[in-house]
Amino acid sequence: MSAAVLTRLRDEYGAARAALPGSVIDARRRSEAIEMLCAQGLPAGREENWRYTNLRILDRARFTPAQPSAEALPPLPEPLSGFARYVFVDGRLRSGATAPHGVTVRSLLSGSAADGTWRLASELPEARLALLNEAFATDAACIEVRSEAAGAGIELVFLAAAGADSGASYPRVRLALESGARLTVVERHVGVGEAPTLVNSAVRVELAPNAHLTHYRLQHCAARTAWFDTLTAELAADARYDLLAVGTGALASRSTVHARLTGRAAQLALSAAALGAAQQSQDMYALSEHLAARTSTVQTFRGIASDRSRVAFNGKIAVREQAAGTDSRQSLRGLLDGAQAEIDLRPQLEIYTDEVRCSHGATAGKLDENMLFYLLSRGIAPEVAQHLLKWAFLEDVVAKIELPQLRRQIEHGLVGRMSEAVALKELL
């Protein structure tokens, strides 16, 4: 990472700033963000928690936001029934819906100046690419949920359409749930075309006491996309955050999740599945910071690396002094499916208090030969047998998807031929 990139970043910002909407982020905040980012420098491979990210892409990236496009939408994933869908193209709202009862969904592009002041609130160096988003964001989805919204559903589709030459796309979301509110959000990142694309997304989750958010995040970007993503979450007392991420797309994908459990008995369940094939890299860093008593985290990761791909999950659980009675569980598993593939699993535990229950396990290995032979001995073709076993491997995460329609879509995406198994399961 050279100084030249930072100079270019500053120059690009200088040229773009006048046109960046203040209602999304005010101008002063944007300039601060750029300065903070330049002071820290862009992430570098020598940093422990960025080791497995494909960062070379940033050397050549064009940071300026892509111009709004009026091109017709390509086919998008089938909408989920009962969900209000909002489509963003290159980070700008293209089409909306009527928000469910108790939910406000706004595009900040048409918001007021006061809207432009919220930020991601993470000092974590791993979260600093959110500053890039803060500097350049062209729109933001602001979703506020009141307590009377009982189990409403919102679907956010972020389409990256512009090629990297014409600019980057900056999806930005704020999800704020009032006390006792419940919401399910499906957030999809998709793309079109063969051109390299840069996406830098930032998501902020705020859960008031007793709020419950179920959040599905699906990264199915196009083949040459670089997807950098930062999510920060703050959980008040008794809040519950079920976050389920599935990553199959992009050439290089890196997601950073920083959850702060600040209220007593807040609960976080983070489940993630990642598939790497060809030359893809799928990297996730997830920090769960326990700052109050009796909080809990369950982290589940299943990753499969095929061909020459690299799949990494770095899961850290930090239990601060005031977080007595914390319960945390980590189960990280990787499957190597290729002599040149790579899996890197890092469970980390940092405990500053007594009286905690923490268990963690991380294993990486190949497909089980005994299982494989058992399937072959029943006449199953080797490719199908491998598919089945990979499928089975991901099941710990996929089974947690509570929306049948979404699960089917994801299952289809994961293992094309397995739809039949699902149909049969339902028949029984």
Partner: protein, 249 residues
């Protein structure tokens, strides 16, 4: 149905099968008995095509074809079934899905269309009743959390649904309680047919009271050292293997 001549097989450079000869005609049930470590499971695995075994000499003909030239899945589709001594647990792969995929693989091989889902389930349910298996097992992962006896019953269920031409059952009776043994035996007996053969690997004469074999073979140190009718099993029960081990040496 099955003709094995002078079969030699090694694992990790160690010879386990040392010139094994065995012929199982169509419609017959043969029992293979023998001391621990004599090579019974090795034989079963070699027949099913498990990787890791080197065949250094000999031939195996199955329905007139060179069995050893076929891949494991082709052997299965041709009608060879191996009932595992230690059935594998595969969490996450649905039991009924495996059954259906197995049936369809064999049907496709024979140029038949896929089985109708509803008819298939009706058939599976009927066989499950026969095996006294709880229907909930269908929707579980393959053998996942099954008890030892349940796994063995599941093997027989698969066999009943697949209707193989030749079934090699490796100690399917081990770990079964007395009632389960009868259930499994009656399940196996329903498959007996003039065009179907069975090889039962067992340590116990008791199974052979329920599934009466046409021939009994004794496998010692990688070779069949004695063959006879069912009375051989009774003799073994009384005398053990020592007298045969002496002869084999």
């Amino acid at each position: 149905m099955l003709t094995i001549e002078n079969l030699h097989a090694t694992v990790d450079g160690k010879e386990i099968l040392k010139g094994l000869e065995l012929t199982v005609p169509e419609g017959e049930v043969h029992a293979v008995m023998g001391p621990n470590g004599s090579g019974k499971s090795t034989l079963a695995h070699v027949l099913a095509g498990r990787p890791g075994y080197a065949i250094t000499a000999g031939t195996v003909r199955f329905k007139g074809r060179d069995l050893l030239a076929l891949s494991p899945e082709e052997r299965a589709r041709e009608g060879l079934f191996l009932g595992f001594q230690y059935p594998v647990e595969i969490p996450g792969v649905n039991n009924v899905y495996l059954l259906k995929a197995a049936v369809n693989a064999a049907r496709k091989h024979r140029g038949l269309p896929e089985v109708d889902a509803f008819e298939f389930l009706t058939l599976v349910r009927e066989k499950m009743r026969l095996m006294r298996m709880d229907e909930s097992m269908l929707s579980r992962g393959v053998n996942e959390g099954f008890s030892g006896g349940e796994k063995k019953r599941n093997e027989i269920l698969q066999m009943l649904v697949l209707e193989p031409a030749l079934a090699v059952l490796d100690e399917t009776d081990s770990g079964l309680d007395i009632d389960a043994l009868k259930v499994v035996a009656s399940g196996v007996n329903t498959l007996r047919a003039p065009n179907r053969s069975l090889v039962l690997v067992t340590h116990y004469q008791r199974l052979l009271e329920h599934i009466v074999p046409d021939r009994v073979h004794v496998l010692v140190n990688g070779r069949i050292v004695r063959s006879g009718d069912r009375t051989l099993a009774l003799e073994l029960e009384q005398r053990g293997y020592d007298w045969l081990i002496g002869e084999a040496a």
